[in-house]
């Protein structure tokens, strides 16, 4: 199996979610070709941890998030959540499992039904699962709405379009919490929001995580946001994992050339910091025909013949820090320049 390796998976600790060799492919019309959205990735999330997933559009980060929920079922691989193998669960059991894992989406307005009252939207999961009498349900809904900063009275009278984007995202968060889940998958939850509102929502997620003992998988393309909220960060590129590390060390000492490129591309809100000349031009290639070897090799300055033919496996470069690169920025067997000269 040409996976990206499993050296980074943990045996110890309270593993809530363990994904192994996850593959998701979509057919391209009737051409017989396939979009290789996620190509054999493995990762785990400990209870109470926040895992950040970053990468450019098309790297498979959202597909990974959805595949964890079996939306749709992955082509192959295993997803173990709270000890249960989700890929082989019958539909009823899967529906029950989804009450324990919830999702928050990017566009807060289109993820709420425009024709229903907001309070009913938040309550609906309780109605479907027949949790408690009406009075208890409403009490719970109102308490959650207040916690996310929405006036329950207004929520009872208003529809989603009467709220701002930030408020709609707060409503989505309340809805995701109503069934007492353990895992929340946040797919770009703040990308559509203004920076000022983004900060409010991120702080809210941190507060709720502490209060309800949640585990988060936080998918985003903004590295500063991901660093802020995550304990560990996983960088993805074209359906593969490049690097996994505790968030602080990922940012102070990236080991993968792609991570370095992402970090260098962030605009710094300080005019005295010279704008970095973008080291790598171009955009990710098509996931229909991904490059052989290391998938980043066509855009990588350090790429050599080995990178074009042999896929790198994830290996340890520091405590908790793993990288899938033949010539990492640190922790390699030999410096990059020496290696390429030897070849």
């Amino acid at each position: 199996m040409a996976g990206s390796g499993k050296a980074h998976l943990r045996d110890s600790g309270d593993v809530l979610l363990r994904v192994e060799d996850l593959v998701v492919e979509f057919p391209v019309g009737r051409t017989g070709l396939k979009v290789h959205a996620v190509s054999g990735i493995s990762f785990d999330v400990l209870r109470g941890e926040t895992l950040g997933v970053v990468g450019e559009s098309g790297c498979g980060k959202s597909t990974t998030g959805k595949a964890m929920m079996m939306l749709p079922r992955p082509n192959s691989g295993s997803v173990v959540f709270e000890g249960a193998e989700l890929t082989s669960l019958p539909p009823d059991a899967m529906r029950a499992a989804r009450t324990r894992m919830q999702m928050i989406f990017q566009d807060p307005i289109s993820s709420l039904n425009p024709r229903r009252k907001v309070r009913d939207i938040v309550r609906e999961p309780l109605v479907i699962w027949k949790r408690g009498a009406e009075k208890e349900q409403l009490a719970k809904v109102d308490q959650l709405l207040e916690e996310v900063g929405i006036d329950p009275q207004r929520a009872a009278e208003s529809q989603a379009h009467q709220f701002s984007g930030g408020q709609c995202q707060r409503i989505s968060i309340a809805r995701s919490l109503v069934l007492d889940p353990t895992l929340i998958i946040c797919d770009e939850p703040v990308s559509a929001l203004d920076v000022s509102v983004q900060a409010q929502v991120l702080n809210l997620l941190e507060d709720l995580k502490l209060k309800y003992g949640l585990t988060l998988v936080f998918i985003a393309h903004d590295l500063a946001v991901v660093k802020n909220i995550s304990d560990r960060v996983q960088v993805m590129y074209l359906g593969k994992i490049c690097e996994v590390a505790p968030s602080n060390s990922m940012y102070t000492s990236p080991a993968h050339h792609y991570t370095k490129l992402l970090l260098d591309s962030i605009p710094v809100p300080n005019p005295d910091v010279a704008v970095q000349q973008v080291a790598v031009q171009g955009e990710p290639p098509s996931p229909v025909l991904p490059p052989s070897g290391c998938r980043f090799n066509p855009r990588c300055a350090a790429a050599d013949d080995r990178c074009r033919s042999e896929e790198p496996q994830l290996r340890k470069v520091a405590d908790g820090h793993f990288v899938a690169c033949h010539h990492p920025l640190f922790g390699g067997e030999a410096p990059v320049a020496v290696r390429s000269a030897a070849n």
Binding site: A224, V225, N228, S247, P269
Partner: protein, 361 residues
């Protein structure tokens, strides 16, 4: 390119673009929405101005209002926009069309919806060349090819015959830029040109806009909510809030010495990549004002941490800071005694709250 020569000779000594007390109001069922409420500024040739603000601050309406791109019905526009010495408010559609493309052009946020999905990319670029510059087919096609090459689209010949859906987001935005640059505009409006793009592509697109600006001695108005984007790519920044311009300064001056608490709050709410993870983010409480009933006094006062009775009672005028090119609208600007006193109190409160949080965690 006769028109360009004429345009240049028409120019008088003043700035390229001078906006004075521009107001743009929309009549709605709820009442009059004061999206742009008395904005004045000027822009020199070849300079890049950033217009920054949250959603609903009026930054997009301002740029469209200057270009005359707003629907006529239910829109009230007053004030003056002098472009190359000529008043362009009140021009007929026919006259505005002469300005669009050749003098002013715009790049929009979403490159997918701003390109025609059923027209080949090449035709969308040559359209303007033929209409505005009167080029023939062959000439227009050659120019389009050169433009695609300028915006660094790989295999430009192939792209001319492709449709928007066949291109990636970054590539589509490059096509938009090629269309906007086609007729050699004097001012390029870029309305959130990189918001829909990945960071790596964003950096490339911003670099491309800057490079084209220098090559063509073109002015750029970069409208964005991201202070990080404007910091590295503009000469001046105007901050908008609730339809008003609340601070304007050369980029370096603004970052080194911001006066308006709103500007400061906006900057402080950006997560800093240097901070360790789980650092508590600074927020701006509340929401932008309702532009039908904007707050009396300073429009930022309901959300301002440093608010004083005077702020609620009386609207601050635009004042000049130490440098004449730095203006701000605040009674108690950053660094003033009242501000410092309040800041000390807030820091103290935050510190004790932080302590209790650590204890609880």
């Amino acid at each position: 390119m006769n028109s360009r020569v004429q345009a240049t000779s028409r120019q008088t000594d003043g700035p390229l673009l001078k906006v004075t007390d521009l107001k743009t109001h929309f009549r709605t069922e709820r009442g009059l929405v004061r999206s742009v409420d008395g904005v004045s500024f000027s822009l020199e040739r070849g300079r890049a101005l950033g217009i920054v603000g949250e959603s609903g601050s009026g930054k997009t309406v301002l740029s469209r209002s200057i270009m005359g791109l707003l629907p006529g019905r239910n829109t009230e526009r007053s004030g003056s926009v002098v472009f190359e010495g000529e008043e362009i408010i009140g021009l007929s559609l026919k006259d505005r069309r002469k300005i669009w493309g050749r003098e002013m052009s715009m790049i929009f946020q979403d490159p997918m919806t701003s390109l025609n999905p059923v027209m080949r990319v090449g035709k969308q670029i040559t359209e303007g060349l033929k209409i505005h510059l009167g080029m023939d087919n062959e000439n227009a096609r050659a120019t389009a090819l050169r433009l695609l090459h300028d915006v660094r689209i790989p295999e430009p010949e192939k792209r001319l015959n492709q449709y928007a859906f066949e291109l990636s987001g970054g590539m589509r935005q490059r096509v938009m830029i090629a269309i906007a640059l086609a007729c050699g505009p004097t001012v390029l409006f870029a309305d959130e040109p990189t918001t829909a793009l990945d960071v790596t592509v964003q950096a490339q697109i911003l670099e491309l806009i800057g490079e084209q600006r220098r090559d063509r001695n073109m002015s750029v108005i970069l409208v964005t909510h991201d202070l990080g984007v404007v910091a590295g790519h503009t000469d001046e920044i105007a901050v908008m809030y609730g339809g008003k311009l609340v601070e304007k300064a050369p980029t370096r001056t603004l970052f080194a010495n911001m006066k308006m608490p709103y500007t400061e709050a906006l900057l402080r709410s950006i997560p800093n990549i240097e901070d360790p993870s789980h650092t508590r983010l600074n927020v701006i409480a509340g929401r932008p004002p309702d532009l039908v009933n904007p707050p009396k006094g300073c429009r930022f006062s309901p959300r301002c941490e440093y608010v004083q009775p005077k702020c609620i009672a009386e609207e601050p005028p635009l004042l000049t800071a130490e440098h004449a090119d730095h203006v701000y609208a605040c009674w108690y600007p950053v660094g003033s005694p009242v501000y410092r006193e309040k800041r000390a109190q807030l820091d103290k409160a935050k510190k004790s709250a932080g302590m209790s949080q650590v204890g609880a965690g």
